[in-house]
């Protein structure tokens, strides 16, 4: 474990726990405003979900509670490389969810109605001909779909590192190999102990991902968070056959073909998470389902060869929405975790939200549906 001892800063305005994309983005936005910030990461930056997720930059099909955040994030992605002076690998490719039958089209129509009534017009339905124009290799039984034009993908490891490096340039400090063992509020200060050090700060941000519930409890907030191991597989290079990122309306299918020709296949199947040992196990029979769906929707995939399979540790809330906002039990503590397998795209805006909460005490987004204690009454 490489412990960053040379630039360790024991006292800062803000202490961020977790060196994933949310933590790195938070550090970047704070440092940009001249706030001194230290990030504690128990392993290495982007070691877990932020480094190994599917890289989807998706606005399509978002839960209503997240649409505003996701739209704002999407604006940021379009010029993020310039802003961070780095290569996040972002490519705007559009994302298409395929309708396999009339039932799928019906659900798309009702979604369209809902979105239009709320004033959102970024999701556009496609008929069969339009679908074939955009995805000529799609199987013939597919009847249409829905597209979001701004969507695409980025390289997760590169993106998270890009935020980290930009943050460091502005003076933020990242301490790797620092596992938080205890958190205390003493007077106006948060005191955070790791095995070897004590860190002190006025504000504390929990960006601990799959370990977010543990940090949350140390701060004083209980959350019914679970964790799991969503699985991914990637093929050896194939001839280019799909420009847009592809999903399906009612099937566990999700894939994208990168510029280098490899095809990343996801779809939400989960393996076995072993959080205590920092590791995951794959469930190969479930991977088989994803394989079948891919071939059914894209017959060309029958020649695909799987090169690697993996999964990462990811945190979920029962409603599949993140915990985002101020702590309900403690002053000057904030949460941004449990993104339930769709936090990557939100990264650029989450840092902004955290920085707003810390430096201005408020944000332009409605975080009510994402508050940390939203399950408290239900459990009574």
């Amino acid at each position: 474990m490489s412990v960053n001892t040379t630039s360790q800063k024991l006292s800062s305005d803000v202490l961020v726990i977790g060196g994933g994309i949310q933590g790195a983005s938070t550090a970047y936005h704070l440092a940009q405003r001249g706030v001194s910030v230290t990030v504690l990461e128990k392993d290495t930056v982007s070691r877990h979900a932020s480094g190994v997720n599917a890289g989807g930059v998706r606005l399509l099909g978002r839960n209503i509670a997240e649409v505003e955040l996701s739209k704002a994030a999407m604006q940021r992605w379009q010029q993020l490389d310039d802003e961070l002076d780095a290569d996040t690998g972002f490519r705007r490719r559009s994302l298409i969810n395929i309708a396999a039958d009339e039932n799928d089209l019906d659900s798309l129509r009702s979604r369209e109605q809902q979105m239009h009534s709320l004033g959102y017009f970024h999701e556009v339905m496609l008929d069969k001909r339009e679908l074939l124009e955009r995805l000529p290799h799609v199987a013939d039984h597919c009847v249409g779909g829905v597209v979001s034009e701004q969507d695409g993908y980025a390289i997760p490891f590169h993106s998270t590192q890009a935020f980290r490096i930009a943050a460091e340039r502005l003076g933020a400090c990242f301490c790797e190999g620092e596992l938080v063992e205890q958190i205390r509020k003493v007077g106006d200060s948060w005191l955070v102990d790791t095995k070897t050090q004590q860190y002190q700060a006025e504000h504390l941000v929990n960006c601990a991902g799959a370990w977010g519930d543990l940090i949350s409890v140390m701060i004083g907030d209980n959350v019914p968070m679970s964790y799991s191991a969503p699985m991914l597989m990637i093929t050896a290079r194939m001839p280019h056959f799909a420009g847009p990122v592809v999903g399906a309306v009612s099937r566990p299918l999700s894939f994208k073909q990168f510029e280098n020709g490899t095809v990343l296949i996801g779809g939400g199947a989960k393996g076995f998470a072993d959080r205590a040992n920092n590791t995951t196990r794959l469930d190969y029979s479930l991977m088989a389902n994803g394989a079948r769906n891919a071939i059914e929707f894209f017959p060309i995939m029958k020649t695909a060869c799987i090169n690697r399979m993996w999964s990462g540790l990811e945190a979920y809330m029962p409603d599949n929405l993140p915990v985002l906002g101020k702590s309900m039990r403690a002053e000057k503590a904030y949460h941004a975790f449990a993104f339930s397998a769709h936090g990557f795209q939100l990264g650029p805006v989450i840092g902004e939200v955290m920085a707003d909460l810390i430096t201005q005490g408020e944000t332009r987004f409605d975080l009510e549906p994402l508050r940390v204690n939203r399950y408290e009454r239900k459990t009574l």
């Binding site: 590791t279 991977m287 060869c305 799987i306």
Partner: protein, 488 residues
């Protein structure tokens, strides 16, 4: 309760089976795997051996039962003697599933393998990994060009298909290099030159291990004998060569080297490279076993006790996949590991295991002293393991050079997995087999830290490419077990 395990073939039909799992699964049918199977196959134990070749023998005894050569004797007595082992293996009770590719082994005992385009699954209580060795990568400028192959490939092509390549240069160091040159010459093949990179000081340093070598004088004489045989044939031999470079832009056109500070070049359209062998790590790494960096053999190897047991008690590693020990020791380790697993299964007592393994344990220990001498004498040059030239390809699959990796390192890829995420080095179909050791040593150099602190790739299944079509189906394989008698 005792079940009698009948030897079976892989084309099992739906017969009654009282067990859904094998007692012992062995991956690999080289000397270690075959010996383990022979020792483990007892009346009450179900053993399965999975191997990716159509015939047993591993790389060392490849095709020993069905040599395509008119006279296989030219390959030498160390090859021919393998037939005895393959015969005994054929006669033993183990279920031999051949010509299949194991693509996943889990520490929960689950094994997935490709059989003719279908994935089959079996489970086992104990696992023996005997996947053997691979040749150490030889990352020098131009080693990725067509016309450059490993010397091991020359031997494989000879054993399995009876192919020779005339007028090739053989370059590098190690007994296998001299052996293949000698085999070529015996078959009437024309060898352009043997460029030996064993440095002078290795001869001096290895003398400190000579007393160990004298315990196995036969093997010592063999190495010297091969070199004499090559010399007598009039083949050009260059000793103490350094700074090897493959010449050519799109295809190998020759080899350049220095000797005593002077640069030479030899034209040739084919060059065979070799600098020793290292354990085949992918299975033991993907299983999550603990590994150590071995300074003596300059390679990663799984942590094993003297019974070949890994950091996970039900998984053992036998033969060269646990550290290079050679065919005879591999066969002995196969027996030792099998006895230990019989003890684990409660089939024999610890005392019985100890006494049955005593001779083999002594033999393996004595061979290790000889191994120290060999490892010292044929220790590959730093410059041939840790490339410096910016344009040298390290990752052949993703075409990443020393310069690409250096850049990734400077961007924060300080550890092999970070470097992999940063640069794609090690992400291709070979799963890091051809770049993993180079990356560990390069990073150690750049960080100025021991290789042991740098680590290796975290690997996952599949260990080989699996087609999406194949992945969509699974078939279970269960041992054919037939109750023949009840024993109290």
């Amino acid at each position: 309760m005792t079940e009698f395990f009948t030897p079976g073939s892989s084309d099992s039909s739906a017969e009654e089976s009282s067990s859904i799992s094998y007692d012992i699964a062995i991956i690999g049918a080289g000397p270690a795997g075959m010996s383990a199977a022979i020792t483990a196959s007892r009346a009450s134990v179900s053993v399965v051996v999975l191997d990716d070749k159509p015939r047993s023998g591993g790389q060392i005894y490849r095709n020993v039962d069905a040599s395509p050569l008119p006279d296989a004797e030219v390959l030498g007595p160390d090859y021919i003697k393998g037939a005895e082992l393959t015969t005994r293996f054929r006669r033993c009770n183990a279920h031999h599933i051949r010509g299949v590719t194991v693509w996943h082994v889990g520490d929960n005992g689950e094994i997935l393998f490709s059989d003719n385009g279908t994935t089959k699954r079996l489970t086992a209580r104990q696992i023996i990994v005997a996947t053997g060795a691979m040749e150490r990568p030889f990352p020098i400028p131009g080693w990725h060009l067509p016309g450059v192959m490993s010397a091991g490939s020359a031997q494989v092509m000879l054993k399995s298909d009876g192919l020779v390549r005339d007028e090739a240069i053989f370059a590098g160091t190690g007994p296998l290099l001299y052996l293949i040159v000698a085999q070529y010459l015996r078959l009437g093949g024309k060898v352009k030159a043997l460029i030996d990179t064993t440095p002078k000081q290795n001869y001096l340093h290895s003398m400190t291990e000579l007393s160990g070598a004298m315990r196995a004088p036969g093997m010592l004489i063999k190495g010297v004998g091969l070199l004499n045989e090559i010399r007598k044939s009039g083949t050009k031999i260059v000793s103490f060569a350094e700074d090897l470079k493959i010449l050519g832009e799109e295809q190998a056109e020759g080899l350049s080297y220095t000797r005593g500070g002077k640069e030479y070049s030899l034209p040739a359209s084919h060059i065979f490279l070799h600098q020793g062998v290292i354990p085949n790590l992918n299975m033991t790494q993907a299983l999550g076993l603990e590994h150590d960096w071995c300074k003596q053999q300059l390679c990663w190897k799984p942590k094993l006790n003297r019974w070949g047991q890994s950091s996970k008690s039900h998984i053992a590693v036998a033969g060269d996949s646990g550290g290079i020990i050679g065919a005879d020791s591999a066969a002995a380790m196969g027996r030792i590991v099998a006895l230990n697993q019989l003890v684990n299964l409660g089939v024999i007592s610890a005392l019985e295991g100890e006494s049955e393994a005593a001779d083999d344990l002594t033999f393996v220990a004595s061979q290790q002293r000889f191994r120290r001498f060999i490892d010292r004498l044929y220790r590959p040059l730093d410059q041939q393991r840790i490339p410096e030239s910016p344009g040298t390809v390290v990752c052949r699959c993703e075409e990443r050079t020393v310069a690409d990796l250096k850049k990734g390192f400077e961007l924060g890829g300080r550890e092999p997995n970070q470097l992999k995420s940063q640069t794609r080095c090690g992400m291709g179909p070979c799963q890091g087999r051809m770049c993993g050791h180079t990356v560990s040593e390069l990073l150690a150099n750049w960080r100025n830290q021991p290789v042991a602190d740098v680590g290796y790739y975290r690997l996952r299944s599949p260990m080989r490419l699996v087609t999406l079509a194949e992945l969509s189906q699974f078939t279970d394989v269960t041992p054919k077990a037939k109750k023949t008698e009840e024993v109290n």
